[in-house]
Symmetry: C2
Subunit: 269 residues, 2 copies
C-alpha cells in the first residue's frame, strides 16, 4: 500500500472517529395551513435547549411541511373519475382517495389486492402516491399530500435558518416508504438542501488499495432513517438535528432527483 | 381524544425526547480467519474510551464477521460450471466469481448487462449474492462471502459481551445493499440478536386517535443505516455503538427472516 493511500486512511479515520448525535426536536403545537413553520421549528429548537451549529442537518417529517403548505384535501370536495370508481370498487377503497392518488401520480406501477404503488409526479415510487390519512386532523374527511417541491421547501427552511442564526446547515425532508423484498418501512429523503444526497466513493481505494465495490451511498436516505429512530411514529417529534456527520455540503440547488433511478435503468419496473 | 391516548403520548414523548448517539469503534488491526473477533471488538471499545451500557446496540459490518469466520474463497480453487461459464461470458465477468455467486444463491432474480441480482440462501435479494471483492486481502484472488448464519454470529457476540461486561445489549450485523427505484446503496441488517428487527405500531393511534397508516418500521435496517454514517466505506470503522434508542429487546432468537418478505407476497419478484 503506498503512502498516499495510507495518508488518505489516516485522514478519513480522523474525520470518522467522532460521535454523531441524533437530537429530537419535539413540537408541542399541531401545525395548521399557513402556520409560520420556520419560526415554530426555530422556537422548538430553542425550547429543547439546543442551538444549531454549522454543518448540522435538520431533518423534518414531510407531514408538518405539507400541513403548513396547505397540502390537505377535503374528500367532500373530490369528484372521482370513472377510472377511480373502478379501481376503488375492485380494491375496496374510497374512490375519492383513489382519485387524489391518481392525480398525484405519473403512472401506476403495481395494483394488487388493495395495494396501489405509483410513481408520483416527483418520481418517487411509493404506496398511495404518499397520500396519507393518518396524523391529519379530521382524517375521516381530510387527506395529506406530499409537498409539491420538497427540495424548494427544504431550501426555504435552510435560508430562513441561515438568516436567523447565521449557521450554514443542511435540511432533509422525509417520508416513510415501504420497499420491495424487505418487510417494514424505512424513512427516506424526499427533499434536500445544502447536502449532496449521494456520497460517492467512485475512484477511491479500499483498505488494500483496490477500487471499492460500493461506490455510491444514499447518504440522505441513511440520514432520514437515522432521524426516524428519534421521531417515532405517533409522538410529536417531527424534527431532528443530526450533528457530527461528515457530509458533502453544497450551495447549489441539491436535487432529490439524484436519488431517483431513471425508469429505463431500473430492473424492477 | 381520550385520556388513555393522551397518556400514551406523554409516555412516548418522554421516551423519545432524548438524544441518540452513534459512536464509532475503530479497529486498527485487520481481521484474519480465526481471529478472536469478540475480544478484538471488546478491546477496540476500550481503546475508543467507551464502555458498553445496558440497551446499547452494537452494529458490526459483516465484513469483519465473514473474515473472522473464514468465509473467504480463493478463486484459484474454484472450478466454474458450464452455466457459470456461459453467464460470465455473456456479462464480461470472471466465471469463478459467478460460480461462487450461484453457490451462495437460491435463485437468480435479475440478470442484465453484467448486473446479477440473486436471492441468497438466507433469502436476501442483493447484487452478487453479497459476494465481495473489495476490502479483502489479495482481492485479485480472494473473495468474501456473507456469514452462513448472521443471526447466530450476532447471538454469539451478544453472549460474549453479556458474560464479559454483564451488560444486556443488542447486536446487528450489516451489509450495504442497492435497492430498486432509488440510486445509491444503504446499509441494512443481515443478522440480529436481542432486538426485534421490526418495530410494530399496529393497533396504536395517531396524534388524533386514528389508527396509524404506517404500522411497521424496519427498525434494524434504520439502525444499520444510522451506523453506516459513522462507518464510512474505506476507513477502519467496522463497528458502531448506537446508544439511547428505545427498541424492543428480546431474549428469544431474533430472526432476520422477519425482515424478509416472502416471494409470494412480493409485487416485484
Amino acid at each position: 500500500m503506498d503512502t498516499l493511500v495510507l495518508e488518505r486512511y489516516a485522514k478519513r479515520k480522523n474525520t470518522n472517529v467522532k460521535k454523531i448525535e441524533i437530537i429530537p426536536i419535539p413540537l408541542t403545537k399541531d401545525i395548521k395551513p399557513h402556520d409560520p413553520l420556520n419560526v415554530l421549528i426555530f422556537k422548538a429548537i430553542k425550547a429543547s435547549q439546543n442551538k444549531l451549529v454549522d454543518n448540522d442537518i435538520l431533518v423534518i417529517a414531510h407531514k408538518i411541511i405539507s400541513k403548513a403548505e396547505g397540502r390537505i384535501v377535503n374528500l367532500i370536495d373530490v369528484e372521482p373519475s370513472s377510472e377511480s370508481d373502478k379501481i376503488a370498487e375492485e380494491n375496496c377503497k374510497d374512490a375519492r382517495v383513489i382519485e387524489i392518488i391518481l392525480n398525484e401520480s405519473k403512472e401506476i406501477v403495481r395494483l394488487s389486492n388493495g395495494i396501489i404503488i405509483t410513481e408520483t409526479r416527483h418520481g418517487f415510487i411509493c404506496a398511495n402516491a404518499g397520500v396519507d390519512q393518518s396524523n391529519v386532523e379530521d382524517s375521516f374527511n381530510n387527506v395529506l399530500l406530499l409537498p409539491i417541491d420538497a427540495d424548494r421547501s427544504a431550501r426555504n427552511i435552510r435560508q430562513f435558518f441561515k438568516k436567523r442564526t447565521g449557521k450554514r446547515i443542511a435540511v432533509i425532508i422525509t417520508d416513510t416508504f415501504g420497499r420491495p423484498f424487505r418487510e417494514g418501512q424505512t424513512n427516506v429523503a424526499i427533499g434536500v438542501a445544502g447536502i449532496e444526497p449521494i456520497k460517492s466513493y467512485i475512484g477511491l481505494a479500499d483498505m488494500y488499495g483496490k477500487q471499492l465495490r460500493v461506490t455510491e451511498i444514499a447518504a440522505a436516505d441513511e440520514i432520514a432513517s437515522a432521524a426516524e429512530l428519534a421521531m417515532g411514529k405517533s409522538a410529536r417529534v417531527p424534527a431532528v438535528i443530526i450533528r457530527g456527520y461528515n457530509y458533502r455540503s453544497t450551495e447549489k440547488k441539491s436535487q432529490i432527483s439524484k436519488l431517483i433511478r431513471p425508469k429505463t435503468q431500473d430492473l424492477f419496473r
